[in-house]
Amino acid sequence: MSGRNGGCPLPEAWSAYVDRETAPGESLALRAHLESCPVCRLEVRAIQAGRKALRAAPVPAMPDDLRRTLEGMAARRYPAPPAASAAPWGLPAWVRFLLSPAVLAPAAASALLAALWLGRREPPRLELAAEPVELPMELVVSAHNRYALTLPLAPADELFSEPSAQLAGGSMEAGDVH
């Protein structure tokens, strides 16, 4: 790293030194050199002064129309709920959460899954259905997976990658259905 004045480090080393981007060993050597070299002290001063001047360089303020445009972009992506949807009597937040689609949809899916499963174990009930409803297994598993992902720390083994194999093997019990 020695440079222009015989044993003096190159300016690149001082630049990195000012930025605290030198390796520990290099920093020690540079610091030791700095104590005895007025030329390099001047180099470091010049780097620091240049940085300070650059930070002080004037830049125009952000235009108001740009600010409004950006805020509009954020608002359009996630629009605020319309005023009418906010219950005037002020339902508690947890009630609103329970009534939200994110909770109701998985609950409905799991209820359907449970009904299908119970129905399978009780053949007479199936006979009551005038027209048996056939749901593709992928749809049922997809609904289950969506619900499982809403649970905290849902273990990966609850997401059935091979549903037919697991069902055929009899590994799925009623208690597995959440």
């Binding site: 190159l10 240049g50 940085r51 004037p58 952000m62 235009p63 950006l70 805020e71 992506r77």
Partner: protein, 194 residues
């Protein structure tokens, strides 16, 4: 519905980072109008790729990367359809830094002025003379305070190149400040353009 508070994060990003983004873009372009378009395009890009954002990375680094790419794309497009600006650098403006420019005895008076008085305008004009790559690296390093590793990621260049480019940009900036300062930093002419 705002999935996992992502909407809030984006709104915070717009509110807290818009000004800095605009300043970064302005330093790159040197034009408020161009910077405005650039920031708007960058936020559009961020918004459309929001789901792909890797949360383990700093948001500002990701944003700078997008903004820098858009800027370079725009420049490439502009270069493909060249126009002549009256502010274009003249031939010979980028000659290499001479050893005499760096002599401590020559530099110290200007250095003292830089440390002592308002030198922002001079620095601004000198900064505009740097290349795009130099402006980008100096803005990220000296203004935004990013480390070399983050700069390396944003600009897509090796760590060693960041180190040498930062150093070279600082020396060129100093050279331009020095040359302009000889003209404009005389008593009573502090804000006169060379």
């Amino acid at each position: 519905m705002r999935p996992n508070g992502q909407g809030d994060l984006f709104e915070d990003f717009v509110r807290d980072y818009g000004e800095r983004a605009f300043h970064f873009a302005y330093r790159l372009c040197g034009s408020a109008d161009e910077a405005k378009d650039l920031v708007q395009d960058a936020y559009c890009r961020v918004l459309s790729n929001w789901e792909d954002y890797d949360r383990s990375r700093p948001l500002n680094s990701w944003f700078f990367t997008i903004l820098k790419r858009l800027f370079l794309d725009a420049r490439r497009h502009r270069d493909a359809c060249p126009t002549v600006s009256l502010d274009e650098k003249t031939e010979g403006a980028d000659e290499p830094l001479t050893y005499a420019d760096l002599l401590p005895g020559e530099e110290e008076p200007l250095l003292e002025r830089l440390e002592r008085e308002e030198s922002g305008d001079l620095a601004r004009r000198a900064f505009d003379r740097l290349s795009v790559e130099q402006r980008a690296v100096l803005t990220l390093c000296d203004v935004e305070g990013l480390g070399y590793e983050a700069i390396s990621e944003v600009l897509g260049i090796p760590l060693g190149t960041v180190r040498s480019r930062v150093s070279r940009a600082r020396r060129d900036l100093r050279r331009y400040i020095y040359r302009m300062g000889r003209v404009s930093l005389t008593p009573g002419r502090a804000h006169e353009r060379p």
